[in-house]
Amino acid sequence: MKKRWLCLFVENEVGVLARITGLFSGKAYNLNSLTVGTTQDETVSRVTISLFSDDQLFEQIKKQLNRMVEVIKVIDYTDIDIYRKEIMFLKILKCTENDCAFLFQFSEVYGIRIFDFNKDSVLMESIKAEEENNLMLQLLYKRLDNPIEIVRGGSVAIEAV
């Protein structure tokens, strides 16, 4: 089982997303993340999917997606240079003064932005590849016991020029 990345161009219509996610649930494919947004052509949406599968199943998933009437194009990112980013919001609660100081240092070192805070909470945004965001969380958990509210946006990706 490997992690794979796919990009879909789909009709920007009611129900298309349901049809795609329905395929994953109906056929018991292992979906990791899915993001969707409109493109320069407002009738087309672009979907970035990450999933776990072996080679044979991955081929099958691509074919199944391709045969959907609403799917215009499927791009396999396996052998393509791509840039991927995921937005992750972290709200760190019950911070002591020390915690706050640490978080400001941490954000500077790792290039994470703090964009709101008060005396006992800090709100941060991390825009990195999914794996790097995972690492940020690990590092924070190592140092802090505070409750953290996490919102992750799922990855978007684009081919290198």
Binding site: G15, R19, G22, L23, N66, I72
Partner: protein
């Protein structure tokens, strides 16, 4: 000129050359039905239940090779289609199903008779869409007919809200449609065809496997020619049976769990297998990894997703069966595989499907059907009746079989037979059903009576849900759990089989047929069979129901036990 959505709907049907529509009205479809009122070029058939309705459209579409059209109302009308949608889609039958919907401003309000039928059917059909505004109605209907009939045919659901049916708008219906995400394969990869021919040439034990795709593509003649020229033996799935005449000297039989021994042996022993139009369903492959394990696999299928899904393939060819076979025909030659042919012929003789039995057996009844009828469509229900039919029925250009192979839908037989008869009035249409399946849509006898459709409905009555009972007998220690249809409240628990004390069967099928206005005949011995069929043929303005009382514990043999490979068949039990 401005016309209503409902009027545009009727115009679209005319343009699509629809002359039969299967419809059941209701509150949210009333405008569509109103637009159909009083005209005569589209005949509206009113079955008695929406499930029967869609199976009838399915039987019509399969037998005529034309898109079937259903029209039902919202809510329960639409949900009653669900089984039929899955049935047809699984077997690549082109259908367009129109469902009425509550007005757009009420969608999402849990309005009376509102269901999200597009959401419900999304995963069991080829395409489903709700019309959101009047302007797009024409294009959507055009798209629906195009998608249903092209590529791998399937079911399209078009959900039309009531206000859109009523709204005035443009009267144009497009002649063509362009769908950027839908481009069915129209070419054949020459390089792959060459590879396939080379593999066949090098083979010592080559074999063709034909599936439903060959029948759907109408490629029977080409396939027969290919077999004739190459001299390569051929086996089929049950959906592919009849693609070439079953009497063809190179036709070995069906493969799969109730196959002929020789056909399964051919699969296990062949060194090159050229499969056309089958997705290698688990019913034909047996234990995974053991199917055709000695063979180089060539797989021709219109659907790329069917290739290398269940069985890894060496030479994939994505193409329409008819086109691919024609390409093979252009460059093929005669192959020398005499020893192999002889081996299979001997196996076929040594292990015939036909068993030496006496009495009123399913085999006897089906062989009588072979004997009596010339131009024939046989429609099966699902279960033992279906399996026996696929074993013993003889097929050729004049004799066709319709069966729910993929979904295995009980209740399919009678309504699909009506649809087939409507589309083929010149042919005899015989439904072969079990006593279980027939009761799932028996109300359609009324439709057959009012439409004066002389279909011949055979019920093989063994008093059981026979196929499950057989499994319970063979693999579950005779524990006949909920499979006895004679059961009554007074029966002892833990029954393991029929006996003298068994209650009387209900309903009395003969009386039931009579109450519908059909002819009812009960047959209890082999001597009565021929006369019953003769009587049915004479009854040419109404359906005939023939109830055959067969042995309660008759089994379908041979059988590949669950989890075993194809060559491990139980021949006798």
């Amino acid at each position: 000129m401005e016309i209503t959505g409902a009027q545009l709907f009727v115009k679209a049907l005319r343009k699509e050359e629809v002359n039969i529509l299967f419809g059941y009205p209701g509150g949210q479809a009333i405008d569509l039905f109103d637009a159909l009122y009083g005209q005569s070029d589209i005949e509206v058939i009113l079955p008695r239940h929406e499930q029967g309705l869609i199976h009838a459209a399915d039987g019509y579409a399969r037998s005529v090779k034309k898109t079937g059209v259903c029209l039902v109302t919202s809510g329960p009308g639409a949900t009653n289609l669900v089984t039929g949608i899955a049935t047809a889609n699984y077997d690549s039958v082109p259908l367009v199903c129109f469902t009425g919907q509550v007005p757009t401003h009420l969608i999402g309000n849990d309005a009376f008779q509102e269901v999200d039928i597009v959401g419900i059917t999304r995963n069991i059909c080829k395409y489903a869409v709700t019309v959101r505004n009047r302007q797009e109605l024409g294009t959507i209907i055009k798209k629906a007919f195009y998608i249903a009939a092209t590529g791998k045919p399937g079911v399209v659901v078009v959900d039309i809200p009531k206000d859109i049916q009523q709204e005035y708008g443009d009267d144009t219906y497009p002649n063509t449609v362009e769908i950027r995400g839908y481009k069915p394969s129209v070419t054949v990869h020459e390089g792959q065809i060459k590879k396939a021919l080379t593999a066949l040439k090098q083979a010592e034990r080559p074999l063709f496997l034909v599936g439903g795709g060959v029948v759907v593509a109408g490629a029977g003649k080409e396939m027969e020619k290919l077999v004739d020229i190459t001299g390569i033996p051929v086996v089929s799935t049950i959906m592919g049976k009849g693609a070439i005449p079953t009497s063809h000297p190179l036709y070995i039989g069906n493969i799969g769990i109730h196959a002929s021994y020789a056909a399964n042996k051919a699969i296990s022993e062949c060194d090159v297998l050229c499969s056309i139009g089958t997705r290698f369903n688990d019913r034909i492959t047996g234990k995974a990894g053991t199917f055709a394990s000695k063979a180089t696999l060539i797989h021709i299928d219109i659907d790329p997703a069917s290739i290398s899904r269940n069985i890894a393939v060496d030479i994939p060819i994505v193409a329409d069966a008819k086109k691919a076979i024609s390409h093979l025909l252009e460059k093929t030659e005669s192959y020398d595989c005499e020893a192999w042919k002889k081996q299979l012929e001997e196996l076929k003789k040594l292990y015939p499907l036909a068993r030496k039995q006496t009495g009123l057996t399913p085999q006897f009844i089906i062989e009588k059907i072979n004997e009596i009828f010339d131009k024939l469509i046989v429609v099966t229900d699902v279960g033992q009746n279906q399996l026996w039919t696929t074993q013993f029925l003889e097929l050729n250009e004049e004799k066709q079989m319709l069966t729910s192979g993929g979904l295995g839908t009980m209740g399919y037989g009678l309504p699909a037979a009506l649809g087939a008869k409507l589309g083929n009035p010149e042919k005899h249409v015989v439904a072969i059903c079990g006593d279980g399946g027939i009761q799932m849509n028996i109300q359609e006898l009324a439709t057959a009576v009012v439409q004066e459709l002389p279909v011949i409905v055979c019920i093989l009555n063994n008093g059981y849900l026979g196929n499950v009972r057989q499994w319970q007998q063979m693999f579950y220690n005779n524990r006949y759990s909920s499979t006895c249809l004679k059961y009554r409240k007074g029966c002892k628990t833990g029954c393991t089989g029929p006996g003298k004390m068994c209650p009387v069967y209900t309903p009395d099928f003969v009386k039931l047929a009579e109450s519908y206005g059909a002819l009812g005949i009960r047959v209890t011995s082999e001597e009565e069979v021929e006369a019953a069929f003769k009587q049915a043929i004479e009854n040419d303005l109404a359906p005939t129901l023939i109830e055959f009382i067969i042995e309660p514990e008759e089994n379908v043999l041979p059988i590949v036990p669950p989890g075993r490979q194809l060559s491990e068949m139980i021949m006798e039990y």
